[in-house]
């Protein structure tokens, strides 16, 4: 996919760039308002990652410009402002999602993937990973053409893993993704272990290879062997 990253913080820009480029995506960057306006005037993107507070102007203005140009680019707002009004304003102006800083790169990847999937394959909501095929609309999973029964959490977990395939995903990123950031219950994320264990078991029973690997206590990695 072709992405545009509008972010003024250099270190953050580099990390995001590195994370997305590794997957063979084309990722362009704009570090201020004017650079971003120039880019969106010239090109189209599958998804624009947009910071709201930029040198030279407001991110919201870029959203308005996009809307005026009738462009169909997906927009994901990444902002330090955890404000409901900003969120509502952004979504009303045509943004597809809103992610509050700080975030996990895996969460960012999952959100971008979801946006791009919704935008680019109109009507086609299927994710395919080797023998696994997922219909995100109907929430159905087929492994080798056999229906696989997963709970809601296991389903979300699988979609999340596939969006972040070949990447190490941390336990708290998974917990936050599945339960929302409200659940800051404990620093002990062992309770997600049960879900991962069940998912792995169900996938293997359905005839998949063991794609989920535990990585040095930090998290998990989903990759085809």
């Amino acid at each position: 996919m072709k992405l545009l990253l509008v972010e003024d913080e250099q270190s953050l820009r580099e990390s995001i760039l590195a994370y997305f480029s590794a997957e063979g995506n084309i990722c362009e960057v704009a570090c201020d308002y004017h650079a971003a306006m120039e880019k969106i005037n010239l090109y189209s993107y599958d998804c624009i990652l947009l910071d709201l507070s930029l040198p030279g102007g407001e991110g919201m203005e870029i959203l308005r410009a996009l809307k005026k140009m009738n462009k169909n680019d997906g927009v994901l707002i990444i902002s330090a402002r955890h404000s409901l009004d900003d969120k509502v304003d952004g979504l009303n102006l045509g943004a597809d999602d809103y992610l509050v800083k700080p975030f996990h790169l895996s969460e960012l990847q999952a959100r971008v993937t979801a946006i791009v999937r919704r935008k680019s394959f109109d009507g086609n909501n299927t994710i395919v990973f080797n023998e696994i095929s997922i219909d995100t609309q109907a929430m159905k999973i087929n492994v080798n053409a056999n229906l696989l029964n997963l709970t809601k959490k296991e389903f979300d977990l699988l979609v999340y893993f596939i969006a972040n395939q070949r990447k190490v995903v941390t336990k708290n990123a998974i917990a936050e993704h599945l339960w929302g950031d409200e659940i800051d219950l404990s620093d002990d994320f062992d309770f997600i272990y049960t879900h991962i264990k069940n998912l792995r078991k169900k996938l293997i029973e359905a005839g998949c290879k063991d794609y989920i690997k535990s990585m040095y206590g930090v998290g998990y990695k989903f990759e085809s062997i």
Partner: protein, 417 residues
């Protein structure tokens, strides 16, 4: 005791003493003056008698006229005691009454015979005058006291009104409120000065508070970007292969610390926002449904801690922000789980006027006064100690009352609508 009544008391007391003293002095002085006058009259009478004796060499007739009596008595030289004035009783024969009188006792030689002469005058008129003066003085005292009392009562009250006005405003003064203290108009310099002092103080305090709040806001805000950088760098770091288990643990610890720090910033921002009343979007929230939803949401956590939950919910809707309702219930639910025992129990009770979360936990009651303070937490708690402060702030915003109770070994948090 009020300043006015204290002042009144002293004022009236002193006035009374001074007026009484004045009355006494008046009485004594006037009495003295009148007696002097009487004595002079008596001396004139004596001289007239002497002049008569000098001319005619006989005594005038003993007379009884104009409240005055003259009497003679022959005495031997040895019995005389000298000329003197004295008070005595005067018999008014017209009215057959005894009246106070003043007499002059003197001696006169007529044809070698010594006579004792007694001249008596009625003092009635003089006494009457003294009495009248005394009564007038008393009347003035009473009148003056009454006037003083009325002045104190009504004038002072109205004079002090601006003071009480500003006092009431100071009592009602609340930093978090938007309303300012208004100047009470007064012609009195002291009160005008007080007004100005209070006004400028409240403005200064508000300004400081505002700066402090915006500092918290900005500080929390500015923390987000570096936190985002740390988080993303960590995410990038773990993609590079070849970590040992020990390194993995270290990285996990860093993740946890970053996670806590970002939650802390979010919580502080949220608190500031609630305090500034920046969260609007009120809507009717079906609490029963929301609680059921929370129970589902927390299901895995309850299971992993082997905590059982029982919901006893009546239909109840409140008008509040959905966002804050979520946070409030999340906080209370998280608390009930976090501070629970292994295989403990949570009761959630919703009625028309109350929502109660009660859970099993440590066997001692929490300190009621400090429970809702910021950053107040037990040593074993993994939280930040902001959850209950936020919950209370949310409840305050919608005029609910959040309280804590410990009963039958259960900790209860009660929201009264």
């Amino acid at each position: 005791m009020k300043l006015a009544s204290q002042y009144n008391r002293v004022n009236l007391f002193v006035s009374l003493i001074v007026l009484l003293l004045t009355g006494v002095i008046y009485y004594v002085v006037i009495h003295f003056i009148l007696t002097e006058k009487l004595d002079r009259d008596l001396s004139i009478e004596e001289e007239e008698i002497r002049a008569y004796v000098g001319t005619y060499h006989k005594l005038p007739l003993p007379g009884d006229f104009q409240d005055q009596k003259v009497a003679y008595r022959p005495v031997k030289k040895e019995d005389t005691s000298g000329r003197n004035f004295s008070n005595c009783v005067y018999l008014n024969e017209k009215e057959q009454e005894e009246e106070p009188g003043r007499s002059l006792l003197t001696y006169i030689m007529v044809n070698k015979q010594l006579f004792e002469v007694t001249v008596v005058k009625s003092r009635l008129e003089a006494e009457g005058l003294v009495k009248l003066i005394f009564l007038i003085t008393l009347g003035i005292i009473a009148f003056l006291l009454l006037i003083l009392f009325l002045i104190n009562r009504f004038l002072l009250n109205s004079l002090w009104r601006p003071f009480y006005g500003i006092l009431d405003q100071m009592k009602a003064f609340n930093l978090a409120d938007k309303n300012e203290i208004n100047a009470e108009f007064s012609k009195i310099d002291e009160f005008t000065e007080l007004n100005q002092a209070v006004l400028s103080m409240s403005q200064r305090v508000k300004q400081d508070y505002k700066e402090l709040k915006s500092f918290t806001d900005n500080a929390s805000h500015e923390m987000m970007t570096p936190l985002a950088v740390i988080n993303s760098k960590l995410d990038t770091l773990i993609q590079t292969a070849g970590f040992s288990d020990q390194q993995g643990e270290l990285i996990e610890d860093i993740y946890l610390a970053v996670g806590r720090l970002s939650r802390l910033s979010h919580s502080l921002l949220l608190l500031a926002k609630i305090e500034n009343n920046l969260i609007k979007n009120e809507e009717l929230i079906d609490l029963k449904e929301l609680l059921n939803q929370k129970a589902r949401q927390f299901q895995e956590l309850l299971q992993s801690n082997e905590i059982s939950i029982s919901l006893n919910l009546e239909a109840k809707a409140v008008s509040m922000s959905k966002y804050l309702a979520d946070i409030l219930l999340n906080n209370l639910m998280s608390n009930a789980i976090r501070h629970n025992l292994k295989s403990g129990h949570i009761d959630v009770l919703l009625s028309a006027d109350q929502l109660i979360f009660s859970n099993t936990g440590i066997a001692t009651a929490l300190d009621d006064t400090r429970t809702f303070e910021r950053f107040n937490k037990t040593a074993s708690s993994e939280g930040m100690g902001l959850g209950l402060a936020i919950s209370r702030q949310i409840c305050n915003l919608y005029s609910f009352k959040l309280s804590y109770q410990y009963e039958n070994e259960k900790h209860s948090f009660i929201i009264s609508f």
